[in-house]
Amino acid sequence: MVTIKELPKEEYLLKGHAACAGCGPSISLRLLFKALGNKVILVVPACCTTVIQGQYPYTSVNVPLQNILFESTAAAASGIVAALRQRNLEDITVVGWAGDGGTVDIGIQALSGAAERETNFIYICYDNEAYGNTGMQRSGATPYGAWTTTTPSGKRERKKDMALIMAAHRIPYVATACPSYPLDFVNKLKKAKEIKGTKYIHILAPCPTGWRYDSSKTVEMGRLAVLTGLWALFEIEYGHFKLNPPSDRLLDKSKRKPVKEYLSLQGRFRNLREDDLERIQKWVDEDWEYYSKLTSSSASDSAPYGKI
């Protein structure tokens, strides 16, 4: 386990990039390089990072970066992995780095295919819960009740649980993360790097521009997402589910903050009614009952994928 002091000083996301102030995804990208180093090939579809990296002839990313079509991150990673194997360069880590729209909506087919083929790469979904780069339109990862430009009165459907969808592919490693807990994310990346096969990490990446909160509050927003239980930090290693700190202390409902503490700080949830808040709280509590079952069945069951 890496500590803050042990994080490398090298920066591979360079200064002068084009992210918004307080951008959760760009904090995550910086951490990604600190965890994986620079022997990395990054695949980026259409997403905020298309802009963050900067315009030709400049780039703010100091590893080889392949920009690719919106729905095809995992397909591109498959091609790179295959070519690296033919060239005996398998010590290079291939990383797909895509937003939530590019993952849970338009990119899910290619991702599912690559996972089923046991492609040896790390796929990271940085989830700011809407199509951020095009100005906040609803995605399959937008949560219930959230304002977006295409759900002006709030989305009426629930967020897709992409991490568990990926777990259903029986890949060796699935994890969730949040840049508010940088060491948790870094250590998960380091673990993923050592595992052969498809590794999927889903980051909740707060977005001040789209979520409508002050850009100084990104870390706080991520922490509240975790502490209210709306976003659980967990990993599923060879089918075994495990909650990570601080989520592992939140199985007891009384330890979780009410969801209102998180939702009320964001302009995108301005239109939530009292019954919406109750509904969201109920769903979170149900999710945690499920996490509780997964935790106990994973502890008692030694067979991989016994329960997931």
Binding site: Q53, L69, A76, A83, Q86, A110, R117
Partner: protein, 392 residues
């Protein structure tokens, strides 16, 4: 020793990918292409071919995986047809825009709706403007030879563009013909190891295909056009060299047959070119001065060759196996465009034939030629576009 195989064009395409020492194949099945990627799967599993075979979940992913593998420094191959090619459309632009020398076999099949599995050129000609070089083959030998030639062409530093090798479904794809396969060593001498203009390299970290402002986008497009012009100069040279080494040339950009003294020249593509030669022989016996020119390379379009033919012929007829709805056959349009600025260009009559796999035999082509001759003598093209053998 060269080997003679009697096999289908699809299997021959697989042999060509093997002979080209392709390192990554990403493919998805679709009729009538499937037996190409089945053949390659056999080669890879038996160890005859040392390559990665990515069994992707769609044609879109097949093309993207080829793009990414080509960008990672290895030779790539894929094959598709019709709807598979249409699904790739977006990625075709990405491949040429990225200047990656991917080679793909396109087994021509008509586009639906309604479903059809039989050949015409509506699939590949719909991809005309994607920046891919397009070859159209007339027989199985040409399929093998053109795949090898295409790698040599596409990996030339003056080109660095992808190419599709088009062959008509069933007419070639599932038809057995004898094909001469040169020795591997001879092919290796002709085709050097993979070359590309750039590569994803951890020792030289660059962002590829990132956002380009209006300040530079046009220049990137101009460079693709330059590469196409370079390809136009190189294709005849490569075909000639190949012919000298292996005994088969295919006419470079345009395969011409008895055009020198012809009053009427019939323009065709693909297998219609073979039928047209028989038609020309028969018509010559009747004393009609006719020749045929098979457009082997549709992109880059061989404008200069057509201009040369325009200087010697009195009449052109273009036989198209595809229509641009609301206009006419592509070949007719492009031949007209090629000669428009010439002094007294010959009139161009357009004929649509063989859509959705309807047979176009030498007899069909003789009928077309006779009509064109009549219009030539009357001094008037009666119909801008004639639908040949249309029912009802």
């Amino acid at each position: 020793m060269a080997q003679v195989l009697i096999d289908t064009a699809n299997h021959i395409a697989g042999y060509a990918a093997k002979a080209a020492r392709v390192k990554v194949v990403a493919a998805y099945p679709i009729t009538p292409q499937t037996t190409i990627v089945e053949k390659i799967a056999e080669f890879v599993e038996s160890g005859e071919m040392s390559a990665e075979y990515i069994r992707v979940e769609s044609e879109h992913s097949a093309m993207v995986a080829c793009i990414a593998a080509a960008a990672t420094g290895v030779r790539t191959f894929t094959a598709t047809s019709a709807h598979g090619l249409a699904l790739m459309h977006e990625a075709l632009h990405w491949a040429s825009g990225s200047r990656l020398p991917i080679v793909m076999a396109v087994v021509n099949r008509a586009m639906g709706a309604p479903w059809s599995i039989w050949p015409d050129f509506s699939d590949s000609l719909s991809q005309r403007d994607t920046g891919w070089i397009q070859f159209y083959c007339a027989d199985n030998q040409e399929v093998f030879d053109t795949i090898i030639q295409a790698y040599r062409l596409c990996e030339d530093e003056g080109v660095f563009l992808p190419a599709m090798i088009c062959l008509e479904g069933f007419i070639l794809s599932h038809t057995y013909m004898p094909v001469k396969i040169p020795d591997q060593k001879e092919i290796d001498d002709f085709l050097p190891p993979y070359r590309t203009g750039w590569i994803l390299d951890v020792n030289n970290p660059l962002s590829h295909a990132n956002l380009v402002s209006p300040e530079w986008y046009m220049e990137f497009r101009y460079m693709i056009q330059e590469a196409m012009e370079n390809a136009k100069r190189l294709i005849p040279k490569i075909d000639e060299e190949y012919g000298e080494r292996f005994g088969f040339g295919h006419g470079g950009l345009v395969e011409k047959y008895l055009c020198e003294d012809a009053d009427l020249i019939l323009f065709t593509m693909g297998t219609m070119g073979s039928e047209a030669k028989i038609a020309v022989d028969n018509l010559r016996k009747e004393g009609l001065k006719v020749g045929t020119a098979r457009i082997r390379v549709y992109r880059p379009f061989p404008v200069e060759e057509i201009v040369k033919l325009a200087k010697q012929a009195q009449m052109f007829a273009a036989i198209d196996r595809h229509i641009s709805f609301g206009m006419e056959g592509f070949l007719a349009t492009e031949i007209k465009a090629s000669v428009l600025n010439q002094k007294d260009p010959p009139p161009v009559a357009g004929f649509l034939a063989g859509l959705g796999g309807r047979d176009v035999t030498y007899a069909t082509i003789e009928k077309i030629a006779k009509k064109a001759f009549r219009w030539m003598r009357e001094g008037e093209v009666e119909k801008e576009t004639e639908w040949v053998d249309l029912r009802g």
